[in-house]
Symmetry: C2
Subunit: 582 residues, 2 copies
């Protein structure tokens, strides 16, 4: 080793030892007769020290010539500092330099390598290898490592086997777009990269593997939204001979283990809510339950008073923002603007200020008197000082709009603290959802999800009402995992494909191997997959998943550091049997 | 859970408990009044039992209707067996069936689900999910899981961080062919799948990550030879601020830890041999050191006696096959045929039988008398009863040929026992090798490998003589891992690219980001990568890596179970901006 100790290791106990350190020059401070160098590595920072008159003049000259981010190796004696730095683990000592070797010089970095940097996103991505030197980014990736370790420790302890499934698989038309890989040996044929190892993990259950997991890269060729990556990582799991209850308790156990072992937090047992209730009370299938602010339906108290907007609405629904009665006109206008943004899509907002003196002021005073408004306030359990916010219209659309407003108010009221964690199981998702675009039913989860047996009868008469044995885990308003109990018999799987508009021929071509497998003794099974990048970013209290991925792509799916995607040679294209269209 | 216990769990201590098991019907034995069912799951086999007159007749009828591989669930009481089976962990008990549910019926499998199966390779691959039910295959994958666990445990304990590197990267012309992925968003541009995370792990060192590892999928679009897979898994590692010695001792530690923890074997410290010595003594850079049978050069004793073949040869070299003097003419002819096969390529074989009575019989008695042959025997340390086998010709070719013969003789003499393990470091590989095909120097390891400083002067005058700081670990004659100390400064890296025939422009386009990174403070670093599939198969004592991969491709790169690669739709091709050439 080029060092005897790391830069995070030396303490008072090492005083008078001669040590060798290696690392990067974080900064130098030159006081004329005294010269200090902060030497950094992954483990910490150690202060180096030279003194005019006592240190070799050549050594001092060499030290003076060091720039930021130079890589050096120093040997010297550990001594106690006169003025200690209690913010640094090594803050009680410094190393008096006796030898100094420059292992590599460094040009001035294009942005400062500090916790807060002056580099913009593009620059940071182009020089990602420098960005990764910054402590917050390094710590994010260290957190990720710990998350993976603890995930494995938990699942290993429960007899799950990690099995690697293939990356070069087969393209399937269901779901998002596949990335494909042309085969050179079989011209005109393509592999596809997996959107998930779904069918393989089910086959492992058919094989009797019983409990499978994998921390695995998956791929989706989507039009990239902010904070989506074309390649992402899942904690992918499957179990056999289980009921839904077993899956829920096993993976509630995982999330509690992660909170305990990684963050020292005792998470309470994870509450459960049906999809229907989540939509009714929060207008979302991934409610942020760090705060309450539940929806209250106001149809009975708000309709029939001559206010056409409400009278003609399928749903009138409100929330109570505690302590916001004194919002100014400007603030109230902002809220109205917010709900009218195309991304939210409401036509307008009705508010009621329940003043601290017990009086009401609303945007619909023309139609409703104080007694009416008191009724609303009572329904919403509002107190004097609160602000009531009401939307109306078609049921589903209105709920989604109010959900956005609820999240905004939660944010404004400081109720979405990134250091607080609230997990939730959402259960009983619909099996199917109608797509206006393709004019047919789609699987809400995926085509392998089993319908609830008691709802099977509705499959012909009212497909949208059929509930699935499907569940999501939600953390702080973000879906972190989802899964289902799978179909495990050929007849049901075939029925499902036909409901989804597959011809028998298509179903056989795409998923024949799975339906065949179901005929050779498939056990009841089910599983779940967690989005690992997102889970890590939530644990790290960050908005973006970017810094929890060592080398992420930008929003155009491009790695600007290595400059990919890029063109390839005509020769290579020819060998692959493909050509680029004009 | 659909069971209270697994099929590998019940013992005498459970007698009289009522239990519920679930699993597959391995076989039934019907003795008329008595009926036994062997129920199998991942954990073992438990015997179930029904008795005419005592068990419910409907239950007996149901049990009689079960076929092989039916998935069932049974509840019953554990009882002590009258005739115990000490080959089975559960062999002291059986379960008297009280309830039986068929969870799923099974068609008759296309091959028997037994340790030795009647299924051929093609059938086993098509129904891989059934093949995976066989105990040896399941145990191979369980071994792989344990290898991964223990690899992580060892590296975690040494402060290595597991970092995921991207799968969608950039195509580079050096080395094997890349698989490429057309970008839908950027028409005419492509990602490539990584042949290894080489540049990324080096960038992580530049970032200060200090110790990195990853168990990672890599991809090579090669013409497939037997037992090569287009996707394969590496244990990929890199360290900074180290010398070659540190890498060798760290990863010798890994391999010894794996042997100890996975197989309970105390591996001796791993011996070291230079590439030059390996070629001289074994004719191979991956000698099988489970047995000795070293090469002995016979130029001085064999030349100048009028035997033209030897007189004109650059090298005359032999091995001594202990105790084989009595090989028949037929056996000797077989050896001659073996070395004359095109894959080996020798022109002929000279043998000397050192008979147990001290006399010699050779295929060159015309040219050499007993005294000559005695000289050869002495040089080879042959004893009466041994067989001397000699090849001659151009030095390098002859060594390779004799290496093949040595391995064959080792095999015949039972010296290549799969339960014995001999590891070896091969050091000081040449930096460059000449390619007749492209008429230029290629990097023997890869272009990032550093030359030995003392050999730098030869880079212009005698490039083939320059040694690299490169090392391979060899186990039982198979290369299981290889690595090097890397170049970490721009000037040397640029020099290397130019020696390899890159123009400055090409070098900048392909690897500009890495050379840039070397200018911002790159520490000295080096690493290694192990072939995980092969390592697992060697630990498992198997010839093939196939059964250590859950869903392997066949030799044509095809997964016959899911039928991939396969065609994709014209619509999909259009979206991707590519078309198939006629």
């Amino acid at each position: 080793m080029l060092r005897t100790h790391t830069c995070g290791e030396l303490r008072l106990a090492h005083v008078n030892q001669t040590v060798t350190l290696a690392g990067w020059v974080q900064r130098t401070r030159d006081k004329g007769s005294l010269l200090w160098i902060d030497l950094r590595d992954r483990y910490g920072i150690t202060q180096l020290f030279l003194e005019e008159g006592k240190s070799d003049p050549q050594l001092i000259a060499a030290a003076r010539s060091l720039g930021r981010e130079y890589v050096i190796r120093v040997t010297g004696k550990v001594s106690e500092r006169i003025s200690k730095n209690d913010k640094l683990a090594t803050g009680e000592i410094e190393v008096k330099v006796e030898q100094l070797t420059v292992l590599n010089a460094a040009k001035t970095p294009p942005f400062t390598i500090e916790d807060e940097t002056d580099g913009g996103d593009d620059l940071r991505m182009k020089y990602r290898y420098l960005d990764l030197r910054r402590t917050p980014v390094r710590e994010s990736l260290q957190l990720r490592h710990k998350m993976a370790q603890q995930t494995r420790a938990y699942l290993d302890s429960l007899n799950f086997i990690e099995v690697e499934t293939p990356v070069l698989i087969k393209s399937t038309p269901e779901g998002a777009r596949d990335f494909v890989v042309p085969s050179r040996i079989h011209h005109g044929e393509f592999y596809a990269l997996p959107q998930s190892p779904q069918t393989f993990k089910q086959l492992l259950m058919v094989s009797g593997f019983d409990r499978y997991y994998q921390i695995v890269k998956c791929f989706r060729d989507e039009d990239l939204r902010a904070d989506r990556q074309p390649e992402f990582t899942q904690i992918d799991c499957e179990m056999a001979f289980i009921t839904q209850e077993d899956v829920l308790s096993t993976f509630e156990g995982l999330i509690r283990h992660l909170f305990k072992s990684v963050k020292g937090i005792d998470l309470t047992s994870v509450p459960r809510m049906s999809y229907a209730d989540a939509m009714t009370h929060y207008g979302s299938d991934k409610p942020d339950t760090r705060f309450d602010m539940k929806f209250v339906e106001l149809n009975t108290v708000a309709k029939g008073k001559g206010f056409g907007v409400f009278d003609n609405a399928e749903l009138v629904v409100g929330i109570c923002a505690s302590g916001c009665a004194e919002y100014t006109r400007k603030q109230l206008d902002e809220l109205t603007e917010f709900v009218k943004r195309p991304q939210v899509g409401a036509k307008g907002l009705v508010y009621v200020q329940y003043k601290s003196d017990g009086t009401f002021k609303s945007s619909v005073d023309k139609f409703y008197g104080p007694d009416d408004l008191k009724q609303w306030a009572d329904a919403l359990h509002a107190k004097p000082g609160d602000l009531i916010l009401i939307l109306s219209g078609e049921k589903n659309a209105t709920r989604k709009q109010l959900s956005e407003l609820r999240l905004l108010m939660g944010e404004r009221l400081g109720l979405r603290d990134k250091t607080k964690f609230s997990a939730l199981w959402v259960l009983d998702f619909p099996l199917l959802e109608w797509s206006e675009e393709t004019n047919r039913w789609h699987a809400m989860h995926h085509p392998f999800t089993s319908p609830k047996p008691e709802d099977m009868a509705l499959l012909d008469s009212d497909p949208g009402a059929v509930r699935a044995n499907a569940y999501d885990m939600v953390l702080n308003g973000t879906e972190i995992g989802g899964g289902s109990i799978r179909i495990h018999d050929r007849a049901t799987q075939q029925l499902m494909f036909s409901k989804l508009g597959f011809s028998d021929e298509e179903a056989r071509k795409q998923f024949g191997f799975l339906m065949d497998a179901f005929e050779f003794g498939a056990p009841p099974h089910g599983g779940i997959a967690f989005g690992f990048d997102r889970l890590c970013s939530l644990f790290g209290g960050a908005e973006s998943i970017r810094d929890f991925i060592a080398f992420p792509k930008n929003n155009a799916g491009r790695d600007v550091m290595i400059d990919t995607p890029s063109t390839i040679s005509e020769e290579q294209l020819k060998e692959l049997g493909i050509q680029v269209r004009d």
